[in-house]
């Protein structure tokens, strides 16, 4: 079942992600004030920090829709589990391969978004057997424990000049996966789990349900309020070196997690009501965005190849050091233009792939994983 609301939001996440990555990697080493590209020195106009939570939240929501489809087709639980774990492992392996081929072999365990979503899919196979209240409790525990775990793991020690910098040791790899990586399980697993948990209420999937309820809006607003409280509390507390303070994505502070989760929940609920029809209203078709959304995995992979590989090649050709142009290749405005150009090409390519049924990362995922 394709829903226009999910297609629109996933497309928005892709657009944000492409723009942010192009600017960060091609021109992001210095902020507008000339400072280093970390923390408050990021470009103020760059919409960083919204794409990944939205993407992860939608992965949980989409998994619930997929799961309902599988159950509707009469697939038994074991078959669904096999397909889920295969999907998760495929994404995790693809994530490792992506890290090796795009970010160099030494970054294979940087725990990027693909490994997170792969892990999350495997976790969702457990979550789907858990009572919803326990899943909610687990999400609360993850959010609550994450700052403490970062403190235990000495998060700042794993980061150098705004980037995850680990050693090839079991300790660093495991801690990166759990706490200190780019998208560690703590707290990022909350987004897909919350998407899975909220899907029935947001999309009105319960049998006999008349449609989306107000619950998700109320919960979303409560999470946003919780984010504001966390921000206020962070400002009032004494500064420490380990606790994530204020609104930060790396590490994902409590305010950031609650705020982005609340925003994702509200946006999905509102768009579902506006776009997906219901009652006498027909759904609003979004064919182009639907194509973009359907091929989001391919676009995620391609957009890195499209700007990172040329960056490495040019850097190597000019200086013999492949990373020499990283974050200094061009001014931000040119990077935004490149991102726009890529998005236009990606849109046309996604439509073409839809019409010609050309092989893609998504078709390979289905071929390998689905029963």
């Amino acid at each position: 079942m394709r829903l226009s609301s999910i297609d629109v939001l996933r497309s928005l996440a892709i657009v944000l992600m492409v723009v942010v990555h192009f600017v960060e990697n091609l021109s992001g080493s210095y902020g507008t004030d000339g400072g280093p590209f970390v923390g408050a020195h990021r470009h103020w106009w760059l919409p960083t920090g919204f794409a990944a939570p939205l993407f992860a939240f939608l992965s949980g929501l989409s998994y619930r829709l997929w799961l309902d489809g599988q159950v509707g087709r009469g697939r038994d639980s074991a078959t669904i589990s096999k397909a889920t774990v295969r999907r998760g492992l495929f994404l995790a392996m693809l994530g490792f391969a992506f890290n090796v081929f795009v970010w160099m072999p030494e970054d294979v365990f940087n725990w990027d978004i693909l490994t997170l979503i792969g892990t999350a899919l495997v976790a969702l196979d457990v979550v789907r057997r858990m009572p919803p209240a326990v899943t909610a409790l687990a999400c609360g525990l993850v959010v609550t424990l994450s700052p403490a775990l970062r403190g235990l793991a000495d998060y700042p020690a794993a980061w150098t000049t705004g980037h995850f910098d680990y050693d090839f040791t079991l300790r660093d790899v495991v801690l990166g996966f759990l706490v200190t990586g780019y998208f560690p399980v703590f707290p990022w697993i909350v987004f897909p789990a919350a998407g899975y948990l909220a899907a029935p209420a947001i999309l009105g999937l319960r049998a006999g349900s008349p449609g989306p309820a107000r619950g998700p809006l109320v919960v979303g607003a409560a999470l946003a309020a919780g984010s504001a409280v966390a921000l206020a509390a962070a400002a009032a507390l004494p500064a420490t070196t380990t606790a994530a303070r204020g609104w930060t994505m790396f590490p994902a502070s409590t305010a950031y997690v609650l705020g982005t989760l609340g925003a994702a929940m509200i946006a999905t609920t509102v768009l579902h009501r506006l776009l997906d029809g219901g009652g006498d209203r027909p759904p609003v078709p979004v064919p182009w965005l639907s194509s973009l959304s359907r091929h989001s995995l391919s676009i995620y992979l391609l957009h890195h190849l499209a700007h990172i590989w040329p960056l490495w090649a040019c850097g190597y050709a000019r200086t013999g050091e492949i990373t020499s142009l990283w974050q200094v290749a061009m001014p931000p405005i040119l990077a935004v233009a490149c991102a726009g150009g890529f998005l236009v090409v990606a849109l046309v390519a996604a439509r073409w792939m839809d019409r010609s049924a050309a092989p893609s990362a998504e078709s390979m995922l289905r071929w390998l994983s689905d029963p």
């Binding site: 009572p131 409790l137 525990l141 775990l149 235990l152 793991a153 300790r171 801690l175 759990l178 049998a207």
Partner: protein, 259 residues
């Protein structure tokens, strides 16, 4: 007048039945019931058998037209010089004026029993087709069916209510006819036999039993499922807390192991 989706035929006056002979009798089920009593007195033509037969045939034809056919054709019960044309919504009794009160009493008593059974049968007819869809839940309950618990509980209540009504009805149906025989008792017996009311009550009891069995089992499965779910929630909560503790220990061990 429309009863149970069917329109009764023409009103009393136009069918040749005197309008003032019709009485509206309220039945316990709330269903309207019309009872017409027509006195047949001795006439000069009583010695002429052919004339008497023709007159009776005319009365019967008029009565049948008035009583109507709601799927069950009217029953004509001649008894000791009286005539009863029975229908579930309208009945006509005809006979000597001094016997009409006994006939009316017998008809009203029977109409109450038949009306009650008819109402039970109607409810059973609406519930029975649902059994096939609900029967799997009597064997195994599932998450998807949790939202239907109220609906199933409602059907269980309906089934028990129907079974209770049948239990109350049964003694009245099986009450022996008075001895020595009376006109009212004989008419009641005839009507019971001709409408097969005892057999119908037996079938209805079997059907209500079936419903009760299915929805009792559904209730037990739903209750067991809810209890198991609560236990599972507790077990999962413990698992989640243990997992959180393991993560804390693991991170703590990894950190302290190198410092």
């Amino acid at each position: 007048m429309i009863i149970d989706g069917r329109e009764l035929p023409e009103p009393a006056g136009t069918a040749g039945i005197p309008a003032d002979a019709v009485e509206h009798v309220p039945l316990p089920t709330g269903r309207p019931f019309e009872l017409a009593a027509v006195a047949l007195g001795p006439t000069a033509a009583d010695d002429d058998t052919a004339a008497v037969d023709a007159a009776l045939a005319d009365v019967v034809a008029r009565a049948r037209a008035w009583v109507g056919d709601d799927g069950r054709p009217p029953l004509v019960v001649p008894l000791f010089g009286t005539l009863t044309v029975w229908g579930p919504h309208r009945t006509l009794v005809a006979g000597p004026a001094d016997r009409l009160p006994q006939l009316k009493a017998a008809v009203v008593e029977f109409a109450a029993l038949d009306g009650e059974l008819h109402d039970i049968e109607r409810h059973l007819a609406t519930l029975l087709p649902l059994v096939d869809a609900d029967a799997p839940l009597a064997f195994e309950f599932a998450d998807a069916a949790l939202s239907r618990r109220g609906e199933l509980a409602g059907r269980f209540r309906d089934a028990v209510s129907l079974r209770r009504r049948l239990a109350v009805l049964a003694p009245a149906l099986h009450v022996p006819a008075p001895q020595p025989p009376t006109l009212a008792g004989q008419l009641g017996e005839r009507l019971r036999e001709r409408t097969r009311i005892v057999d119908r009550a037996g079938f209805a009891t079997e059907q209500a039993d079936l419903l009760e069995r299915v929805y009792t089992a559904c209730g037990e499965r739903a209750s067991d499922f809810a209890i198991a779910r609560r236990q599972a929630a507790l077990e999962w909560t413990i698992v989640v807390l243990l997992a959180a503790e393991v993560v804390l220990m693991l991170v703590g061990a990894l950190t302290t192991g190198t410092t």
